[in-house]
Symmetry: none
Subunit: 190 residues, 2 copies
Amino acid sequence: MRRTKKERQRLLSETIAENPFVTDEQLATQFQVSVQTIRLDRMELSIPELRERIKDVASKSYENEVKSLPIDEVIGEIVDIELDHRALSIFDVQEEHVFQRNGIARGHHLFAQANSLAVAVIDDELALTVHSNITFVKPVRAGNRVITKAIVIGRDEQKHRTKVEVTSTVNGETVFVGEFDMYRTKGKGE
Amino acid sequence: MRRTKKERQRLLSETIAENPFVTDEQLATQFQVSVQTIRLDRMELSIPELRERIKDVASKSYENEVKSLPIDEVIGEIVDIELDHRALSIFDVQEEHVFQRNGIARGHHLFAQANSLAVAVIDDELALTVHSNITFVKPVRAGNRVITKAIVIGRDEQKHRTKVEVTSTVNGETVFVGEFDMYRTKGKGE
DNA sequence: TTGTTATTAGCACTTGGTACTAATATCAGT
DNA sequence: ACTGATATTAGTACCAAGTGCTAATAACAA
């Protein structure tokens, strides 16, 4: 045993999480064990084979295709959307999103999630943020799962404007609120 | 020939574009031809095999994920700073900062530049954005050089608050304005 | 030394193909 | 109707990256 089995499996999980496109053979070389050992490890950790992993990555981004905005342009993962009404997204705060000094999430990440959700909820090819008024209610930290809800609260057909209210919570507690004034090209049913 | 070859190949392209996860066998059944014919068609149209298609979808969404996350690096370069008074930063808008659909910069990048400059201008170990009111005045596009200026316009020692006004311009034209209410731990000369 | 856990080896089989050859079918023009 | 070109089908060997299974070792611990 090069190291312990546990240690290897821990690293294996990490490696695959980082790069799902790696084959068992590459992993075997990397960890200096046989391909069979890698396979046993994957089974114990219930990590699917390469093709399944790739398929998962692909179908995840494919299923959630939203008319208004390709999913990859949204910060966080949209879990529910009802165009022109409401939308919900989840964003897991990682180490790289916080200030090293105090571990508090940088504001622009929360803003990015809220803003991209406000864009996504608009049922239009072109939606732009014109104005927004936001408040950071409580600090957010690494490890927190931020659940953000966008609700369309008003619409002015003449001015092509839509008002969206966005609220982010962590464990049920509000951490961020914002009001977004969005511009859209098309009016109702055009 | 059920229909013409051309017609079938046209539909084939469409079908695969719509759902890249379809196998040759499924296609053969759908078009009532043999699997070999489907393969010949794919070759003539240079459509890769199922696994390659899936891999393409997966890696595309994977690259984008990585691209949209490191906002830390897009906050611009600070070129001048006078702590607790003013600060100036430059940010060059690249292709990856704009919506593919219309080429306009995503709001959160401009916000990120403004917000991080507001944080930087505060002469304190800990500065957090509490509230902000922002307006996207004009669309910004790839290739634009955004010059952002932050000016400290007020300070409330009791409440540990500092107000910062941020203005971004492209070629002298204002594209973004924002007012940031910042929280700081320390008061004056503590 | 014995028992347990860990690792490696080997084989048959699977999917969704590629690459290639060869046999038919279909149609168009003369 | 005959010929030649194009289209379609069939069949084979082979590949990658696995699964599922059995069996042989190796390493370690009491």
